[in-house]
């Protein structure tokens, strides 16, 4: 069930109506049942996988919490990590690793006939696995007490607004909200609805509008002109941002209607003036997860420059692999690892104080342009289906051939016209819902313009969110 589908338009009001009538414990049970229906709508068979993974982690966390024996606690932690990563490995990476191994063996002159699994990737498996893992690690580190309620824990893992594409919410943030009685205020409701509207607008009016043009350009990297290829990657940068940020805003808005606050996932990342800042603003829940559970445990920046660069590279490589079982994602991660290491090498930990304060000078403008284009180069590998296609795309850009297509220029201009004012407004007041502070006639005009744009631009098919595949 997609947030931008008619099924969900019926599902959400029905769940909300029942939710507002129930007492706290019953609300949690209702949300859990609704979350499993939401997940099962896609493929009911994988509900059992989710339930198994949840129950297993629940009991392991309880045992880790109950024991004081350090070695035993560590063994249980390793067991949890192995079980979670095995599930992820089987469903997401098995074919990737066997194919890569067979290709490497074939290159060495040893042809191997490796087994291939014909399995469907369970939607959201990367998100809920990481969420469960963070809970187990937090309990192991004694940052959190293991919950005694399976319903609460299962709801923490499966809460439907963020189940399939994040944000990856820490147990320390979400579990207390589930355990405590929730009071819903007018601000929750109004800001929730506005967040849903902004998210839908990003997805339906911007991301889905540019998607066919991106598909067209990326399907013909060998014949499109240089200008078209450049515009194509700009459009993809807009598409993936609006698709994912739109989903995250909708998830936060829907959660607010239930009185639950999820973490912010994006803070206008394309206004970043350095690659380090980009990663503080892009997919924040994943980047902070990788920082806290991978980069810092690896040693972070505590063991000298060389170890820091190695840790950055390893973290970003795994971050790339998290996105998908394809070498193109690994290259995307490696590029970002190299960018981050390069930035650290050149500038150390110095930050542009003026840019941080919201000011914008020539240096910040140059930093923004360089960062944006470095990110766009990496997007080519992210979007390409194969390594060869990515190289062909880059070679097409370098060939300096042909002229731009008028329709691509028009789509880019239209997408920027819709996106830039929205992001500028959010950036100026450092909130996702700046529109709520405006006078009501302006609010009315903005809401109406968004609704009209969605009706005018929406396609007939519900285009799935890009991050569903991860």
């Amino acid at each position: 069930m997609l947030f931008n589908s008619w099924e969900f338009a019926l599902f959400l009001p029905a769940v909300l109506a029942a939710y507002y009538m129930l007492a706290h414990r019953a609300q949690n049970r209702l949300l859990l049942a609704a979350s499993y229906v939401f997940y099962g709508w896609w493929d009911y068979r994988f509900v059992t996988l989710l339930a198994f993974s949840t129950t297993f982690d629940f009991y392991l966390a309880r045992r880790i919490d109950a024991t004081e024996d350090r070695r035993r606690r560590k063994r249980l932690l390793v067991l949890s990590c192995v079980s979670n990563l095995t599930l992820l490995g089987v469903f997401k990476y098995f074919n990737f690793f066997t194919d890569s191994f067979a290709a490497a063996a074939a290159a060495l002159g040893v042809p191997l006939d490796m087994p291939t699994l014909r399995i469907i990737l369970p939607v959201g498996i990367s998100f809920y696995t990481f969420q469960s893992l963070s809970y187990i690690v937090d309990v192991y580190r004694r940052d959190l007490r293991a919950t005694g309620s399976l319903v609460d824990f299962a709801l923490f893992v499966s809460f439907f607004p963020h189940l399939v594409a994040g944000p990856i919410v820490r147990a320390t943030k979400l579990l207390p909200q589930i355990q405590m009685r929730r009071a819903i205020t007018w601000d929750h409701l109004s800001s929730g609805v506005v967040l849903i509207l902004i998210g839908l607008f990003r997805k339906v009016a911007i991301a889905d509008t540019v998607a066919p043009f991106v598909n067209e350009v990326f399907a013909r990297p060998g014949t499109e002109s240089t200008a078209n290829l450049v515009i194509g990657v700009y459009l993809f940068a807009i598409q993936i941002y609006c698709d994912f940020a739109g989903y995250s805003e909708m998830a936060r808005g829907i959660a607010r209607l239930f009185g639950i606050e999820l973490s912010e996932n994006f803070q206008q990342p394309y206004f970043s003036t350095s690659i380090t800042e980009f990663w503080r603003r892009w997919h924040i829940s994943l980047s902070t997860w990788l920082r806290d559970y991978l980069y810092i445990p690896l040693g972070g920046n505590r063991h000298g420059a060389a170890a820091t660069y190695r840790n950055l590279m390893l973290t970003m490589l795994l971050g790339g692999l998290w996105h998908g079982a394809n070498w193109t994602f690994v290259v995307w991660g490696a590029l970002h690892g190299a960018y981050l290491a390069g930035h650290k090498l050149l500038l150390g930990d110095r930050r542009d104080a003026r840019a941080d304060a919201g000011g914008f000078g020539l240096r910040a403008a140059a930093g923004l342009a360089i960062t944006l284009h470095l990110v766009c180069i990496a997007w080519i590998f992210f979007r390409a289906e194969t390594f060869g296609q990515a190289w062909q795309y880059l070679a097409g850009i370098a060939s300096l051939r042909g002229a731009p297509r008028a329709d691509l220029i028009a789509v880019l201009a239209a997408a920027l016209f819709m996106l830039v004012p929205l992001d500028l407004a959010q950036r100026k007041v450092r909130t996702s819902t700046p529109v709520l502070a405006w006078p009501w006639p302006v609010r009315a005009a903005v809401y109406a313009a968004m609704v009209l744009a969605m009706f005018a631009l929406r396609t007939d098919e519900s285009i799935p969110f890009i991050y569903f595949q991860f």
Binding site: W6, E7, L10, A23, A26, I184, W440, A444
Partner: protein, 346 residues
């Protein structure tokens, strides 16, 4: 009991909410409603939306609706088929041979699954045809016609068919949206559907005929060009696939509904069979398969490829008739249908 119920039901979640009038939302609803009213009020002068994926299909559906509303149904004969029928069979010419009410429901570039879909949802309920004419050729009843399948996919993905294909409680909602909500309807705009115009040049006549071309086919010594799309379709003939299945379903429908079906083998030039070395043998297999179906379903077979001797001057291209060919073939079909209807009446 009271304690148990209050542990389950409570409205305290919303108890603290200080309700206010959401002025911005009310204003937005007023603006959107105003736009909607404007579209409804101005719909007479505004262009119609392309709800069926192409101007031609949308125009024919609209025309059929108007015919039904004006009491011009049922029709005596409904023609179904792809472009060789939509531009090749003129009901006006056919009616010259006898007083038959004929509608050409053929759809340019569409496969039989798409034709069947439009027939089931529009033509059959609104026109209630007494006789069904199915125009066929080896190009159409062929498993490799990806080119036409792509066009048909465009039809199935368009607003009205997706609304019709929706299931559950969504279906009436989507029907309501496409039928009554202007913002939805006017997303896809085009010029002048109201008068049956398809594009700047072509307009449907009152019988659904798109109009005949005047160009004349000239056979090239090397046959069809190397990049001609028919080469992909005819290179390995296969009498199977979705089009054949849909064709058979239409034959079954005719048998069950007791509606006579006439299958017309549309004429084409020899160059189409010369695409592959086995083209002539493939054509014999196609004729044998049609004979098998004829034995099974008992339809009337009019073979205008083998039965009428047409010249290059009567074709626009390798399988589409021009104005001269349209006049000749349509009159012949009119005469044949007149005889069949008279025979059926006896």
């Amino acid at each position: 009991m009271k304690a148990f119920l209050s542990s389950i039901f409570s409205s305290e979640a919303l108890r603290g909410v200080a309700w206010r009038v959401p002025a911005g939302a009310v204003g937005a609803i007023a603006i959107v409603g105003g736009c909607e009213l404007f579209l409804h009020a101005g719909s007479r002068w505004l262009p119609d939306p392309v709800l069926w994926g192409s101007n031609e299909v949308s125009a024919k559906v609209e025309q059929v609706r108007r015919m039904a509303a004006a009491g011009r149904a049922p029709v005596d004969v409904l023609i179904l088929g792809p472009s060789h029928a939509s531009v090749g069979l003129s009901p006006k010419e056919m009616a010259a041979a006898g007083p038959l009410r004929i509608y050409n429901g053929a759809l340019n570039g569409r496969t039989y699954p798409a034709l069947e879909f439009v027939f089931r949802h529009v033509y059959e309920p609104l026109l209630k045809p007494r006789t069904l004419v199915l125009a066929v050729s080896p190009l159409v009843l062929n498993a490799h016609n990806r080119w036409m399948e792509r066009n048909s996919a465009q039809l199935f993905a368009s607003p009205y068919p997706t609304a019709l294909q929706a299931s559950g409680p969504i279906r009436p909602l989507r029907r309501f949206l496409v039928d009554h909500v202007g913002l939805y309807r006017y997303r896809h705009r085009q010029q002048g559907l109201r008068d049956g115009r398809i594009d700047g040049r072509r307009r449907l006549d009152e019988f659904g005929f798109v109009g005949a071309a005047t160009a004349v086919y000239r056979a090239a010594p090397d046959g069809l060009p190397r990049d001609h799309p028919y080469r992909q379709i005819m290179h390995a003939y296969d009498f199977s696939g979705p089009s054949v299945d849909a064709f058979v379903r239409l034959l079954s429908w005719g048998r069950e509904a007791n509606v006579p079906i006439v299958v017309v083998n549309m004429p084409f030039r020899g160059a189409m069979l010369d695409i592959s070395a086995t083209g002539r043998a493939d054509y014999e297999r196609y004729l044998a398969a049609m004979a098998g179906l004829r034995r099974e379903f008992g339809f009337r077979w009019l073979d205008y490829e083998g039965g009428l001797t047409l010249a290059d001057a009567e074709f626009r291209d390798v399988d589409h008739l021009n104005a001269a060919g349209v006049a000749r073939v349509s009159r012949q079909l009119g005469q044949d249908l007149g005889l069949l209807v008279a025979e059926a009446a006896r």
